[in-house]
Amino acid sequence: MMEGLDDGPDFLSEEDRGLKAINVDLQSDAALQVDISDALSERDKVKFTVHTKSSLPNFKQNEFSVVRQHEEFIWLHDSFIENEDYAGYIIPPAPPRPDFDASREKLQKLGEGEGSMTKEEFTKMKQELEAEYLAIFKKTVAMHEVFLCRVAAHPILRKDLNFHVFLEYNQDLSVRGKNKKEKLEDFFKNMVKSADGVIVSGVKDVDDFFEHERTFLLEYHNRVKDASAKSDRMTRSHKSAADDYNRIGSSLYALGTQDSTDICKFFLKVSELFDKTRKIEARVSADEDLKLSDLLKYYLRESQAAKDLLYRRSRSLVDYENANKALDKARAKNKDVLQAETSQQLCCQKFEKISESAKQELIDFKTRRVAAFRKNLVELAELELKHAKVSFVT
């Protein structure tokens, strides 16, 4: 039954392109424009067609496309994280892995339970599950696209070599997923990082701006996490209620087809009304998911990236201060002074470079955030109004 969804047709119609940049308001200029023009869902992976239009001299052509999978996006993201030069920027958060498991399970269960429900009900549920699958698919495409657009819009990151390879190299990048050993290494690295983060955050910052940002981001991140989780639960309840309407509509329909008396015609009409209500509720739930839940989830990831930036800056501050202390010690002992001086200068440069770009990044983050929230909240309200105004016109 799922074959119909594999090797699917172009899921992104012209209208759907509007989903692009749902969360983030970006200005794309002619110098470099990236989007995902197509996507294909196969057994257990998704193939994205990344389409680039550019007037930059770095590329061989002005317009070209390549096919990429999720692992290659992660590779690109990790290469940014590991690059020391980018320590002073907010690295755009990696898109989450496409997860169709839940949807697939539901479709499978539906297939198994085919015998136990009426044909009518079965078709309705199948349609709904397929719509759900499609929605998840569109979302994952949008999230991968947003990542690329953020990179393309960033004045420094857009020049990254790996990024250009990612966009242009039309062979498989042979990026394999991390094996067990590497995953374990990552896990330890993260533990060390969080421990370090705690130590480093104890250091009070002389700069008011950064001190304020740090306290703000910490609290904000936690609250966004909470709001995101609660929003998710709310959306899911909405969907359950919509599913109930579906079943009620079917039962009423069955009652209505018993015979052709007045009461039965009445039941048929009411069944139709319930169907309408269900569609509306399902749409409300989907829109809430898109405009609210996704927005919050995205800013959860972005605020984490911003926190990471602050961590890196604090880390470099600590290194700078340590280098200072080492220099003083060296001068006192009059031993390896030159080495200590160079080391101290490097740390100083690094720190100042990070601080400068970090400030701008954080200001940009705020601007982006306010704009995104505004856009999504306005759209949410407008959509809710649109749905509430749909009347039960028969």
Binding site: R223, S231, M234, F266, V370, E384, S391, F392
Partner: protein
Amino acid sequence: AEVVLDDDREDLFAEATEEVSLDSPEREPILSSEPSPAVTPVTPTTLIAPRIESKSLSAPVIFDRSREEIEEEANGDVFDIEIGVSDPEKVGDGMNAYMAYRVTTKTSLSMFSKSEFSVKRRFSDFLGLHSKLASKYLHVGYIVPPAPEKSIVGMTKVKVGKEDSSSTEFVEKRRAALERYLQRTVKHPTLLQDPDLRQFLESSELPRAVNTQALSGAGILRMVNKAADAVNKMTIKMNESDAWFEEKQQQFENLDQQLRKLHASVEALVCHRKELSANTAAFAKSAAMLGNSEDHTALSRALSQLAEVEEKIDQLHQEQAFADFYMFSELLSDYIRLIAAVKGVFDHRMKCWQKWEDAQITLLKKRETEAKMMVANKPDKIQQAKNEIREWEAKVQQGERDFEQISKTIRKEVGRFEKERVKDFKTVIIKYLESLVQTQQQLIKYWEAFLPEAKAIA
């Protein structure tokens, strides 16, 4: 009566097709209890009753006196009686405590000594009334409305004194169920005449019905009888000479199944709606916190506004869940039990037939005996046989009369039941749909208020 139904249908959907916006002039008629001008005034109906008051926790009045009923007076159906069950009051303490309900009757019928009066009754009194009516009327074919179900768990919580929302809900659910039960019972023209019913409504003191306790001797006897009945039903093979009965029984079987399925779905909806309400409230709080930590002033304000909107929506969800339940779900469970009563009546007819059959068989045997005695030439035995034959001939005749009577009664009752069912369902479902529309209208108000706030983020 058929004409009434037809026009009903047209009128109902004329109203439902209006797009109701906040300021539309159509809104007023739909919400008032006057007949809507959109309706062709052949049979005005007050299907749309006043809005549920959101603050108080009481179930809507289902059976408003409608113009239809005034019309039906002309047909000989007099429904000039209104029953209300209210003011649940806890009497006593501990495990001997019980809830007393006020039963108020308003009537212009001459059989009652006053036009308005009220008494205090407890739940077992209602069960006692039903038990008496059932024993008198069920076996002759009358569909006696079933009483609300007992709930040991629910009642224990109330007795023990738990003052939480679930026991308040339980009491309210029961009060509404008792009210519907009485209203259905008095609508039945034959039952209305019953002296036990009158005593229940009128007399200030009522002998306590002790045989209604689930675990009493009488209760256990009832259970045993029910089981025996079930076994008997399986062994009776009735020659159904009347296709009408067979058809109707099948219809009721189907209806029973469908209603059960629908009821299960509606119960799931109530559950999910309550969940949605809880989750919305949680989200509202979370959004408020987020708004607090947001340092951009306009966005912060907008997020706080969002939190407020969601809180209001949560209220809406709660009210809607309430409506889902009291209107829709309870209607369905009432009818599932009513249909069980209808099936019981059909069963009684079968038993009646069986009795008749048995009498005929016995008569035959007696005749054979007589013939044998004639051959054997025993004059005293012959006389005895002749006596017995006369006795059984009379029984056969009575059996036939009883059977015909019960069949006739059932036909009338089923007709009445069907009419009532149609009216009930239409009334309640229309009211329920109204509540959905109202919820939508409120949503419009809330989001319209929020939109400018969101746009104001700069």
